[in-house]
């Protein structure tokens, strides 16, 4: 197991290099260092000297990927790509283009993101499983039918409508919660209730329907029939056997998401003014802050890979027959 994890982590390195290369390529095909300098220096009274100075100070005066004028190994290392990428691998994010500490920013913004994403995830999981169980319990009845109809209808509505509608009703018309914003500590609850409810409701449709098929599949299996034959009531069968066994695909399916919860939700955060990592990323793209974009993509991929490893481990935990090698 330990050897397996070590191998997976080593395997992650080429992936992260690839991710970095893609980000780098995408960013610098669109922007030149000159563009970045202009973006940062503003629109008024920008002189060519100021741009050169800005680039030199931040190391953007080097060639992008190949330094022909340098000697020996410096041909490869004396470039923007090398200088800017290597440090990422020891999680040294450096400073954003407006000279702010990226690591500190990420640490500060992680919590609001998590405060929104984690409840959405947990409550959503609980609600969807409950709903799916109910539908499975009443399978082939009119309740099940209308449940599925409701699910399909709910998943056919764009998230944008949930957000716009929810904000309009709950905040503007009914004065129940603040329209947007965020505060630290326990005060955050007031700001988070609405986005969490919207996040959960928006996810009910697709997830419940999927869980329902999982439950129904499980209910078709022999052991369930045996259990029924033993005279167990439907409820007991459902909760003790079906739920337990269907949890395996459900859990392994969602484990990969857990680390990425830190990254927050782009849409929710920008609508509700929550200062999390999602809105940080959007801002950085708009401000063409390459350092931040690169760091966020890097963290995103790290979390994704961690998620994959966790998924593998979770397989062995829920099903002892699986061995990782």
């Amino acid at each position: 197991m330990f050897a397996y994890i070590v191998r997976r982590i080593l395997y992650a390195i080429p992936i992260l290099v690839g991710v970095n290369l893609i980000t780098f390529a995408l960013f610098f095909i669109v922007n030149t260092p000159d563009d970045m300098a202009r973006m940062q220096l503003g629109a008024k009274r920008v002189t060519p000297e100021a741009i050169e100075k800005w680039k030199a100070e931040r190391g953007y005066d080097l060639p992008l990927v190949w330094n022909a004028s340098a000697e020996g190994s410096a041909k490869a290392t004396g470039t923007i790509f090398f200088q800017k990428s290597v440090r990422l691998f020891v999680f040294d994010f450096g400073f954003s283009e407006d000279k702010r500490d990226i690591a500190g920013e990420i640490r500060a913004r992680m919590w609001p993101s998590l405060a929104l994403a984690l409840p959405v995830f947990l409550v959503g999981l609980a609600v969807c499983i409950t709903f799916a169980l109910l539908m499975a319990f009443f399978r082939a009845s009119y309740l099940d039918f209308w449940g599925v109809v409701a699910c399909v209808a709910m998943m056919s509505i764009s998230t944008l409508f949930y957000i716009i509608g929810g904000q309009y009703l709950a905040s503007k018309i009914w004065h129940l919660v603040p329209i947007s914003g965020y505060a630290g500590g326990l005060d955050a609850v007031r700001f988070l209730i609405l986005p969490v409810v919207i996040g959960v409701v928006g996810g009910i449709g697709a997830s419940s329907r999927w869980y329902r098929t999982l439950f129904l599949e499980e209910m078709g299996k022999d052991y369930v029939r045996t259990a029924r034959a033993k005279g167990l009531t439907e409820g007991v069968v459902l909760f003790r056997h079906v739920l337990k066994n269907a949890m395996i695909p459900i859990l392994t399916g969602v484990v990969v998401v857990i680390p990425t919860l830190f990254l927050g939700s782009l849409l929710m955060e920008s609508f509700f003014g929550i200062p999390g990592l999602g809105s940080y990323t959007i801002d950085a793209i708009q401000a063409q802050d390459f350092s931040v974009v690169r760091s966020m993509v890097f963290i995103g991929s790290v979390f994704y890979i961690v998620g994959l490893i966790l998924t593998d481990i979770s397989y062995t935990v829920v099903d002892p027959r699986i061995r990782l090698e």
């Binding site: 009274r45 500490d101 609600v127 919660v177 603040p178």
Partner: protein
């Protein structure tokens, strides 16, 4: 269902108003609530330039001069200076120099700051790492001296700072450009560069209260720069303090923690969410102005005359990126003042018969007040002078054709309609480059552009489209077709794409050109690409804006100065307009004192501008500001950003009104809850049935 329960439990714990975004403990305090949209990039006075940043920097830093809060037209008055400096002209080996001696008032103290305690200048690394805020250290203060002003001017040339005005100032301040070169050599990475050790020729200390700036030539506009934070004092101790190793990693920099002598100090800097300005306990106190514009007394703006400012203890700025929440929170009373987004305009404002804006009855019932002001800004449709079709470089006949074409467009493009559709009339169409309220601007019939408008019934009316068609035909494009080739005329408009609303704007532009049967092609790009095209001079028509640095016609006219050409010299003349006559007049006008002579030259320049029409019309935006009834002394002011000290808040009234406006509406939630409960009933019935059935099948 569980979330709903949670919702009820938590909300009832929060008091009677549920949607208050602020902590309960702050209710009823003498605090101002406002917003900021963009996170400020720089709070360092050498670098900060945008109006977003000015909201904070202007309350902290005190340059020698400021604008009068109430008087119009805008007037400079001393802030820390004893009087407005008058330059002495000195002749030295054939070159004229202007020498400014600036005397500052004695007894001005800095805000509390750790840099003023000597021990804090050599802190251990561990201490810095454990700090939450620089204000957690022991704080000190000292008196403001002339050296601090000198130090800051030197910082404009600092190798690690990017001062946007360095290029401009290096043209004028004696020795500044060379000074930057010297500093570049003297700078050692990771070490504090003590600017006191490096003298600057053109800026020197005379005595503890006086410093002297020497400029090459004359530059009467220089006093306006003295009202900007670029020329605010900077104590060397603060610079030294923030240059200690480890400070940067904690975001402890001058860019993040400004230090000044102003009425407020930035006590909390969380640019993602909230910025807090706290009253500076060492502030000397300044008297509220006792004179104003006519009518200010009736509006209650002089009630506080002579009283000691500031009035408000704390100002909380919340970040609000989206305009909808901002507007709604303003209506709910959670922001004390607000601008108006175009979409909320009808709700807030009615425009009366005379074209004057008044508040809608709903707003008036809430006690909201409205103040409007025309910004010293211009947005214009520029024609690229280098373009073969519409520009003016090709000589002789074709230049005349292009001029006629531009004139025709200037009549056809209906800016009045543009403003009424996209800005709810919040702006005035421009007739000359100079914005209203600035010297050189002419109002009414006098200021009319006779090419595009005619004076009728006491107001300017756009000339009929037939006149434009006539000009177009004279230009050689009758009915939008090239008279020689028969090909339709196609014009290209470059603009920056701002998002989905653009479609409407593009459609509108198409309509304008269609009036002349001219084919129209929009070319929308992102900001960078757009700027690049301007720099290369590869545009045809384009829309850009300019916001003036100071209220002087020079700051507008230079946008048309040939030497400022964007394509040739990367200057601010985006349309690359070049007219030797205009340039010669500009050179004469720029350094003149404002008077009838200057007005005459400006009038002539305006005439040339109108005939050549390098800009095919444009507009000056009008700002509408709304204030709640509990906010006192509020007046729209486009020049002075250090407004906070003048304002006053009636916190008790605000509390009462907020409560009245924000009563939660509960029944829909209760109804929803009941419906959910009801939906359980069939489930329960069904469940009972199932259980029985299961039992039966087994037995």
């Amino acid at each position: 269902m569980r979330t709903l329960l949670l919702l009820l439990v938590f909300l009832t714990g929060c008091g009677e108003v549920w949607n208050d975004p602020y902590p309960v403990a702050d209710r009823g305090k003498n605090v101002l609530y406002s917003v900021f949209a963009e996170r400020p990039k720089h709070l360092d006075p050498a670098q900060s330039y945008t109006s977003d940043e000015a909201v904070f920097t202007r309350q902290v830093y005190e340059p020698p001069l400021q604008y009068h809060y109430l008087k119009r037209p805008y007037e400079l008055i001393p802030l820390t200076a004893a009087e407005i400096p008058v330059p002495r002209l000195v002749e030295k080996s054939g070159i004229t120099y202007s020498v400014y001696d600036i005397r500052i008032k004695p007894g001005i103290k800095y805000q509390p700051h750790p840099g003023f305690i000597a021990e804090n200048l050599s802190l251990k690394k561990q201490i810095i790492e454990d700090l939450q805020s620089p204000y957690d250290l022991p704080l000190g203060t000292r008196e403001l001296t002339a050296d601090d002003y000198v130090y800051q001017i030197k910082r404009l040339a600092h190798p690690q700072l990017h001062s946007p005005i360095f290029g401009l100032m290096a043209e004028y301040i004696v020795g500044l450009r060379e000074y930057a070169g010297r500093l570049q050599k003297a700078a050692r990475p990771g070490q504090w560069l003590d600017l006191r050790e490096h003298p600057l020729e053109g800026v020197e200390r005379v005595d503890a209260q006086t410093y002297r700036i020497t400029l090459k030539g004359r530059y009467p506009q220089f006093v306006y720069w003295l009202a900007m934070p670029f020329f605010a004092p900077m104590p060397w101790e603060a610079d030294r303090f923030f240059q200690q190793a480890g400070m940067l990693q904690k975001n402890f920099t001058l860019d993040w923690w400004p230090v000044g002598t102003g009425p407020y100090m930035l006590s909390r800097n969380d640019p993602n969410a909230r910025m807090v300005l706290e009253r500076n306990p060492n502030f000397r106190g300044e008297a509220y102005p006792s004179e104003g514009e006519a009518g200010d007394a009736q509006r209650g703006l002089l009630a506080d005359a002579g009283k000691t400012m500031p009035f408000i203890d704390r100002a909380v700025y919340t970040r609000e990126k989206e305009s909808i929440p901002l507007w709604n929170k303003f209506l709910q009373g959670y922001y004390d003042l607000s601008g108006i987004a175009s979409d909320s305009f009808d709700q807030a404002v009615r425009v009366s018969v005379e074209g004057e804006a008044t508040l809608s009855p709903e707003m008036e019932a809430r006690g909201i007040r409205l103040d409007t002001s025309i910004a010293p800004t211009i947005f214009y449709l520029g024609a690229n002078w280098l373009d073969p079709v519409i520009g003016g470089v090709s000589g002789g006949d074709s230049a005349e054709r292009a001029r006629k074409l531009r004139q025709a467009l200037a009549i056809a493009v209906d800016w009045e309609e543009y403003l009424s559709i996209f800005a709810n009339g919040r702006g005035v169409p421009s007739h000359s480059p100079v914005a209203p309220g600035i010297f050189g601007y002419r109002d009414g019939a006098e200021g009319l552009n006779p090419l595009t408008h005619a004076w009728k019934d006491g107001k300017a009316q756009r000339r009929p489209i037939e006149a434009a068609k006539q000009l177009l035909a004279e230009a050689g494009y009758p009915d939008g077709r090239d008279a020689k080739t028969g090909q339709p005329l196609v014009l290209y408009l470059d603009s920056t794409s701002r998002g989905p609303g653009d479609k409407a704007v593009v459609d509108w532009w198409r309509k304008q050109f269609a009036k002349l049967s001219v084919q129209f092609e929009p070319r929308q790009t992102d900001w960078n690409r757009f700027q690049e095209k301007l720099r290369k001079g590869s545009t045809q028509l384009f829309i850009v804006g300019w916001s003036a640095d100071y209220p002087d016609p020079e700051n507008f006219m230079f946008l048309l100065h040939g030497a400022q050409s964007r394509a040739k010299t990367q200057g601010e003349n985006a349309s690359n307009y070049l007219n030797p006559e205009f340039d010669a007049l500009f050179e004469r006008m720029r350094n003149m004192p404002s008077g009838p002579e200057r007005q005459k030259i400006i009038d002539r320049m305006t005439d040339i501008f109108r005939r050549d029409a390098p800009w095919i019309g444009g507009f000056h935006p009008k700002n509408f500001a709304l204030f709640h009834s509990w906010l006192g002394n509020a007046k729209a002011n486009e020049m002075s950003d250090n407004k906070l000290k003048y304002l006053r808040v009636d916190a008790a009234k605000r509390e009462a009104l907020r409560r009245e406006w924000n009563q939660p509406v509960l029944w829909p939630s209760v109804l929803l809850f009941l419906l959910l409960m009801l939906s359980i009933v069939p489930a329960v019935i069904s469940y009972k049935k199932r259980e029985q059935m299961a039992a039966r099948t087994v037995s």
